[in-house]
Every structure is written in C-alpha cells, then in structure tokens.
Amino acid sequence: MPLELADAIALPEGPEREYLWTLNFGPQHPATHTTLRIILTLDGETIVKAVPDIGYLHSGFEKLGEHLDYNQYVTIVDRKNYISPVANEIAWFAAVEKLMGIELTPRCKYLRVIFNELMRIHDHLLCCGAAALDLGGFTAFLYAFNQKEKIYDICERAAGQRFHPSYLRVGGLLADVDDIWIDMVRKFVRDFPKAWNDIVRLLNRNRIFIERTKDIGVLSKEDAINLSCTGPIARASGVVRDLRKDEPYLAYRDFDFKVVCAREGDCYARYLVRMEEMLESCKIIHQAIENLPPGPVNVDANSKVTMPNQLAVYRSIEGLIHHFELIMSNRQWHTPVEEVYAAIESPNGELGYYVIADGSGVAYRTRTRPPSFIHFAVFPYLIVGHQISDVVAVLGSLNIIAAELDR
C-alpha cells in the first residue's frame, strides 16, 4: 500500500489521535545490525507513521576524501559498505580511472569482476542470513557465515587482510594473485551451490519465513523509479535495470549471465532476487576464473600512474624517481581540472562516485551516491500500515548498512 509522503508524515486529527503512542526503535537495537533510529507512531500495533533519524554513524567520509590522495582514500572507501568492501573500491577507482582516462589490462578487469561478484555473494549472504536471524531462523545465519568465512579467506590470500582488503590501486591492483588463490576460488565456486541449496531448503518453503515476508513492505514499480531505487530492491519490483548489462563496465560484456527480476516487490521477492543473484554471480566467477587472461595486472609503468615494482625502485634511478613522483604530496597524479560521475552495480544497487578534481593528487570533492541512504528513505513508505514486528522484516530486506547510510 504505497502512500503519499503527506499521508506518511501527517497524523490524523481529532479523537483518533488519543489512541496513538510513540515507540523509539534504535539506535541500539539488534535488528538494525548497526545504528539507526526510527521513531514509530503506533495505533495499537499498527504503524501510523515512521520517521527515521539517521546520522548516528556519521564520520565525515567525504571530508576525508578531500584530504587523502587517490590511493590513500581506498582504505576509507573500504569502510563505507563494509559488507562488500571491494565493490566500493571498484566504484571509487572506476570514477578515478575514468577521470584520468586509464584503460585497465584484461587480467585486472577479470580479477576485479571476480572480486565484485564475490562481494555480491558476500553481501547477499549476510543480508539473507541476517534477515532470517531477525525473523527467528538462527541456522540460516550460521550457514551463511560459513560461506562468508570462505570469502574472507579468499580476500586474505589475495590482499593480506580478511575484512578490508584495500586491494585496488589506481590503474591496477595491489598484487597479482597466485595459483593457490585461483584454486581457492575454484573450490568456492564448486562448493557454493551446495551451501546455497542448504539455505534455500531452510527458508524458501519455510512457513514462518513466508508468512513474515510475503506481502510485507510492497514497493510498486512506479514508486521504485520515483524514489530512485536501484539494485535488487528495484529489480524485485520489476524495474529491469542492471548496470552490468545496461552500461557494461570492466569485462562484463564477456560473460553470460541473467538479470534476476521479480514483480511482487515485497520482502519475500527481494529475498528471492538476492538468492538467485548469488547463483548468477557464481556463474560469472566460474566463467572468469576459467578464462583468466595472462599478463600484467597493472597498466604499463610508462603511464606513470601505478607504483613501480620494488626491484625497479631499489635498482634503477628511473624507478626511484617514478616512485618519488607518485608518493610526494606535491607531485603525484596529473589530473584534468574536471569532474566526473561513474557508477557500478554494487550488491546493494547503483554505487556511484562524483569526483571533482582540481589537478592535484587529491580530489577536490568526493561525493558518494550511497544506495543504502536512498533505500532507507523508502522505508517510511513501506512500513506504514504494517505491524511492529514487520519493521525488522522490512529493514532486513532493504539491507541498510549504517556506515554507508551515514558516511
């Protein structure tokens, strides 16, 4: 039952008003997973009005972006959507590389695609597992976390850090992957459908889960477009839009995969879309890992955008100068005095960066287009008319990540 904003904000006048009471949900509540607050006005158990109050994790990410150079900012970007850190990095460097006009090597593109899809699986696993946890299904959460740990291991093997890999650099990657890593990914792709099937068998026909999610929080297609929804949430409402297909970035043109959509637009549809997307991601990873092109991961060293390798720095004067030029804060990259918007299909939706460069190695302004922020704005429309217990179901299906919500 989509409502106009006026209906969602304005309270009834007159005698009905006496029956209303206010409930504070958050900022420290287990079902919010992180920190957000919703002030609910209730008539009995029915929600009449919901006013989200956010900013409890506002940490000045965008201000930091104006003080750190293009490579340093990757550590901050990681912490934005910490469920899919590498997807954030890919979006950030998509914008930076578009600004500098860098064309990546094929191997780098493929590795970035693999990481993007691993992160999609990672994000959806947490979202579906935690949604089930909030609705009372603890086992699905444990199954999901088992797989998540495997993805952590893959990140750790490639980058040395399991949670925030900070794996990407301007024009390439921190380091190339090795054969053990490739075997780990192959094993993950082989084993994942079985684990996926376990979760599906637990939840998809689970009476309680379906009762709690079906026809809850329905978002129509027109509203999804008007409210700027993207990603799985828009696709669950029938908006056939996926940047991997519509504006193919990296190497997505080379892979065969489907865009998963649903028509219902309720919590259950969003859950199903996420589950199916995981299998599609698995297919993409399989194709990418089997056809991983050989060659370097960084763009040509003569282009002076990537770090030279260690041997070159220690043994040759050119390498040393090159390294110096990139590290010293008054030299670094020569960017055009321009601004650019670039977006990728992150697990949560369109994740874009609007970067304004003033010619130095530090961005003048880094604006994130955060999908969580935009999706949480939809929440008051979805929840009005439902019961208190549906709040966690709707929140779980929207997958709100507070660090990205507040930045």
């Binding site: 992180t34 920190t35 900013g55 409890y56 994790l57 940490s59 976390f145 740990e149 949670f163 507070a402």
Partner: protein, 201 residues
C-alpha cells in the same frame, strides 16, 4: 585442606575468588556494534570461531541483562550520549572492551564527527587493536578480561570503589585543546565538560 568435621569433598576458598570464578566464566556481552567491527563480532559468535567456548556467547541486547559491553566500531558525536546512557544502564559489576582502532582512538577517522577514543568519556578495561580485529583477537581480549577479573575482582566490587580515592578522574591520554571560543556544543551545552589547559575538566 581438610578441616575437622568437614568431609573431603568440600573445598574451602575465599568468597571473592569464588565470585570471580563465577563471574569470569559467564560474561554476558552487550554488543554495542556500530560499524565494521560489529560484523567481526558476529563472526566471532558464528560457527568457526565460536565465542561460546569461553562462556561469553549469551549476547543480550538489553543493557540491563549484561555485564560486558563490547564497543565495536567508531562512535560518532551523535552516538556518544547513547553510549554513555547504555553504559549507565548496565548493572554492576560491569566491564568494557573497546574493540578496534576506531573505538579505542578514532582510528583513521580523524574528522569532526568521530570521538577520538571512547576512553575519554567512559571507562575501558581492555583495548583490542586492529581495523577490524580478527575474531581471534577478540577472543584473546575476552581471555585477558577473564584473567583481570580473576586477579582483581572482589565480591563487593571494591576494585571499582577504590578509584573514588583518586583526586581526579582518570584523564584521557591524548587531549586536543581547541580554542575555547570555537567550542560549539553538539549535545547538552550547559553540562558539557570543558577541558582546561592542563587537561583537567
């Protein structure tokens, strides 16, 4: 040791030690998870790392049922009053683990909105480094806290009372002093603590 008239299956100990032994093995954490560290906290509770091995798996989300607060993630300016209120709501005896660089010192977020270490505003027992710490590190911190409780704990909570003898409350380690006229209060301006030049409130 055997006492006269007491059978050999009875053990005699200090009541303090018994209380400490009981307390340390049944820590009930209150996960104050705000950011990335919260996910690692979830991973610590999940199957691979399994915090239940150390008796601290009973996560309760109501502060009134808990005795260990794990602050996982950065604390923003808007969040700090909430954190303090939740800390005050927990019953004695209570302990606090500051998980991760952001909670302990602000971490990479040296910005206008992030509190530079929660120990400036609430007491902390154990600090866990890392961004975020691995689950093993968090488990280690729980073990350390257990040892601390075993060594210093008393039945009546004297170890907390003793600090009342201090002339001043423990001072935060690093204090940045902004010019006094530039202070703009985000919270309650009248009761907010203004630090003086020597670092005292």
């Amino acid at each position: 040791m055997a006492l006269a008239g007491v059978s050999e299956s009875v053990m005699v100990t200090q009541l303090d030690k018994l209380a400490n032994w009981v307390r340390k093995n049944s820590l009930w954490p209150m996960p104050f998870a705000t950011a990335c560290c919260g996910i690692e906290l979830m991973a610590t509770g999940a199957s691979r790392h399994d915090i239940a091995r150390f008796g601290a798996e009973a996560m309760r989300f109501s502060p009134r049922q808990c005795d260990l607060m794990i602050v996982a993630g950065r604390i923003a300016m808007k969040m700090l009053p909430v954190l303090q209120r939740i800390w005050l709501q927990m019953p004695e005896p209570k302990w606090c683990i500051s998980m991760g660089a952001c909670a302990s010192s602000g971490g990479v977020f040296d910005t206008y909105a992030v509190v530079q270490g929660i120990d400036r505003f609430i007491p902390v027992d154990v600090y866990v480094p890392g961004c975020p710490p691995r689950p093993e590190q968090l488990l280690r911190s729980v073990l350390d806290l257990q040892e601390k409780i075993q060594r210093t704990g008393t039945l009546m909570g004297k170890e907390f009372q003793e600090q009342r003898l201090w002339p001043h409350p423990p001072r935060p380690l690093a204090i940045e002093l902004p010019p006094a006229e530039e202070i703009v209060a985000p919270g309650d301006f009248t009761s907010a603590t203004r630090l003086q030049a020597d670092g005292r409130p």
